[in-house]
Subunit: 356 residues, 2 copies
C-alpha cells in the first residue's frame, strides 16, 4: 500500500475516498492502520502511539484543556460497493458514511492543524462493527486508559452534521414463564407456559415509556419484546416460553437502576439480564463542548442509539457524536456520503480548533 | 425367518413375544409381514389378500354382519429393548404395548376361530408410527376401501383393557400478527408484532373449552398454543409473530366446523390451518358394539388422543380402541405388557366372537 500524498492529506474529501478504497472489514485493519500511522508519524507536531490496530496521536502543547477526536477504521462487510465511485456530489462505497468520512476528518485535522486551541488526542481504532469484546476503543481503555485522558470527546460517527449528545443505555433481558408439559389431547393435565407469557406481553403493550429532558436534549425510552420463543412439539402443551426484551433507557438511569426497573415491570416473572451497556449523559456543560456548539450554531439533539461515546462517559469524559455521514445509510449497499457535508464538517471542526 | 409353529399360534402371549422379536421399525416391515401372511394363509377358512405390507384376511361365512379387527405391525425405533425379556408377569420389549400384543390377538383369533359369530376382516398394516402419508391403513383405504368394508371395527391399540370409543379431532393453525420493523432505539417508529400477540395469548388463556357427552362418553376439548416464534434481532422491533395453536375437538364437530370456530375465536387476526384430522363418533349403538360392550362389562370412555379409528369413521365404520397394552408405556425404553392382560383380552374377544 502506498502512503497518502500531501495533496490527498490536504483535502478531506480526497482523503475520505483514499481511506474508503483501503478495504478494512472488521478484523482486516492492518493495511489501513499502517497507512494512517505513516501519515500521523509524518507530522512532527504529533506524538504517536500504537497498540494493536489502535492509534493515538497527541499534540503536546501544554494547553489547559485536552479534547479527543475519535473514529473507527473498520467497516461492515463489503456489499459489492468497493472501490468507491463518485456520482455528482456523492461519494459511494462501503464505509463512506460509517465512518471513514468522519475518521478522515480526524486525520485531516491531525496533520493540518499543528497548533490547535486545545491539546488534541486523535484516536483511530479497530473492530467497532463486531462483538463488543473485540472493540478496539474498549480494549484500549482497559489497558491504556491514560492515552484517552481528556476533558471532552467528539466521536465522528455519522450524524449528518448534527450534534447528537450522549447516548441512551441499552439492556436485554430474558423473561421466562414456566408451565407443565402434557399431551395436547389431555391439555388440562398441563400448564401452558406460552399462555402465561400473555401477561408479559400485556405489560409490554401497556408500558408507558418515559421522555426525559437532560441539558436540553430529549431522551425517549423504549421497552420492547425483540424475540419470543416457546414450544416443544405440535402435540405438546409447552412448559417454557422465553420473551427477550430490549430496554433503551435515558442516561439518567444507571445500569443497576435499569435492571431494578425491569424487575419491577416484570414483577412475578423470572428475569435474567442478557447484556447491557450504560448510557452517557450529554455533558454539554464543559467549556470545549460549549465552544463547539457555538461554532455549529444548531441546537443539539439526544443520541438515541448506543455508540462508543458511552465508553468515554465511563472514563468520565463528556462526549458527543458529530460526523458528516447520514446514519440512515450506514450498513447499506447504497452507502454514500455527500461531499459538501465533508467540507462543512471540516470547516466546523477547523473553526472550532482554531485552524487554517 | 422361520414361520410360527402351531404352539406359538395357539398362545396369545407366546405369539406376542414371537412378533416382538421380529424387529419391525416403520419402513422395515417386510419380515414380519411375511411371517403373519404365512400364518394367515395356513388357515383354510381365511381368504387372504396383500397390498404392499398390508394384509387383509377375511372369513367368508355369509354372516349378516362383518367386523374388522385391526392392528399395525410397525414400531417406533428400538431403544436397546430387543430381543424381548420376561420378568415376572411382564413381557418387556419394543412394541410389546404398542401394539404387537394387540396385533397378536388379532392373529390368534384369525387362526383359532374358524367360525366366528360375525364375518371378520383381520387387518394388519405398516407405517403407523410415522408420517400420516405413509400410514398403511390410510393408503389401503385409498386404493382398496372395499377390503375394509364392515359394520364395526376394533383397533387393538393399547387401552389397558378399557374400551375407548371414537376419538377427538385435531387441528393445528397458525395465528399471525404483523407490525412494522424499527430500530429498538427508535421503537416508536415501529409497531411491535410480538406485543400484538399478547391479545392472541389472552384469548387462549380465557378460552373455556367444552366438555361434550356423546353416547355416554365425555369428550373434553382443548385449545392450546403449542409454539410461538417472533423476532428479527436483538435491536429490532419485530414485524411478525406466529402463534401455532392446536385444537382438540369433540367428534360432534367436523373439520370445517372446527376451523370456523377457530376463526371466530381469533377474529381480527390472520389464521392459516396447518393440518387437521377429523374426530370419530363413538358409534356404540351398532349391534356388534353393544354385544362387545356387554362382554367387556365395563362402561366405555372417550378416546382423547387421535388414532386410526378416525380412518374407519371416515369410511362410515364405527370403531373403538381396545387392547391389552398400557398406553402410557408406549414409545418408552421400558415398554412392556402384562401377560395376564393379554390373556384377559384374548378371553374377552374370543367370548365376543363366539370362539373356543
Amino acid at each position: 500500500m502506498d502512503g497518502l500524498d500531501p495533496d490527498t492529506l490536504a483535502d478531506p474529501a480526497a482523503l475520505t475516498r483514499a481511506l474508503v478504497d483501503i478495504e478494512s472489514v472488521s478484523g482486516n485493519e492492518d493495511a489501513i492502520t499502517a497507512v494512517v500511522e505513516a501519515a500521523l508519524r509524518g507530522a512532527p507536531h504529533l506524538s504517536v502511539r500504537r497498540w494493536g490496530n489502535t492509534l493515538v496521536a497527541r499534540t503536546e502543547l501544554g494547553r489547559p484543556r485536552r479534547v479527543v477526536l475519535a473514529g473507527h477504521l473498520d467497516t461492515v462487510p463489503v456489499a459489492e460497493n468497493l472501490p468507491s465511485t463518485v456520482d455528482g456530489d456523492c461519494l459511494y462505497g462501503c464505509g463512506t458514511s460509517d465512518m471513514k468520512s468522519g475518521s478522515a476528518l480526524a486525520l485531516w485535522l491531525a496533520v493540518g492543524i499543528p497548533a490547535p486551541r486545545y491539546d488534541v488526542s486523535y484516536v483511530f481504532y479497530d473492530c467497532e462493527e463486531v462483538d463488543a469484546a473485540r472493540n478496539g476503543l474498549r480494549r484500549l481503555a482497559e489497558v491504556h486508559a491514560d492515552w484517552l485522558a481528556a476533558d471532552f470527546a467528539i466521536l465522528l460517527e455519522p450524524t449528518y452534521g448534527a450534534v447528537e449528545a450522549g447516548c441512551q443505555g441499552t439492556m436485554r433481558a430474558r423473561v421466562t414463564t414456566e408451565g407443565r408439559r402434557a399431551h395436547a389431547a389431555r391439555s388440562w393435565l398441563g400448564a401452558n407456559a406460552i399462555h402465561a407469557a400473555g401477561e408479559v406481553l400485556g405489560r409490554l403493550s401497556d408500558y408507558a415509556a418515559r421522555r426525559v429532558e437532560i441539558e436540553g436534549c430529549e431522551y425517549r425510552e423504549g421497552l420492547n419484546a425483540v424475540r419470543i420463543a416457546g414450544g416443544v412439539a405440535g402435540n405438546v402443551v409447552p412448559d417454557r416460553c422465553d420473551v427477550e426484551v430490549n430496554f433503551r433507557f435515558a442516561p439518567d438511569r444507571t445500569v443497576p437502576a435499569a435492571e431494578a426497573h425491569l424487575r419491577e415491570v416484570f414483577d412475578g416473572f423470572a428475569l435474567e439480564v442478557v447484556d447491557s451497556a450504560p448510557g452517557a449523559l450529554p455533558g454539554l456543560s464543559s467549556v470545549p463542548a460549549g465552544e463547539f456548539l457555538a461554532v455549529v450554531g444548531r441546537p443539539p439533539a439526544a443520541k438515541l442509539g448506543w455508540t462508543d461515546v458511552a465508553r468515554f462517559a465511563e472514563l468520565g469524559i463528556p462526549a458527543l457524536n458529530y460526523g458528516p455521514g447520514d446514519p440512515n445509510l450506514a450498513h447499506t449497499r447504497e452507502e454514500r456520503v455527500e461531499i459538501p457535508k465533508i467540507h462543512e464538517g471540516a470547516a466546523t471542526l477547523a473553526g472550532w480548533l482554531g485552524g487554517p
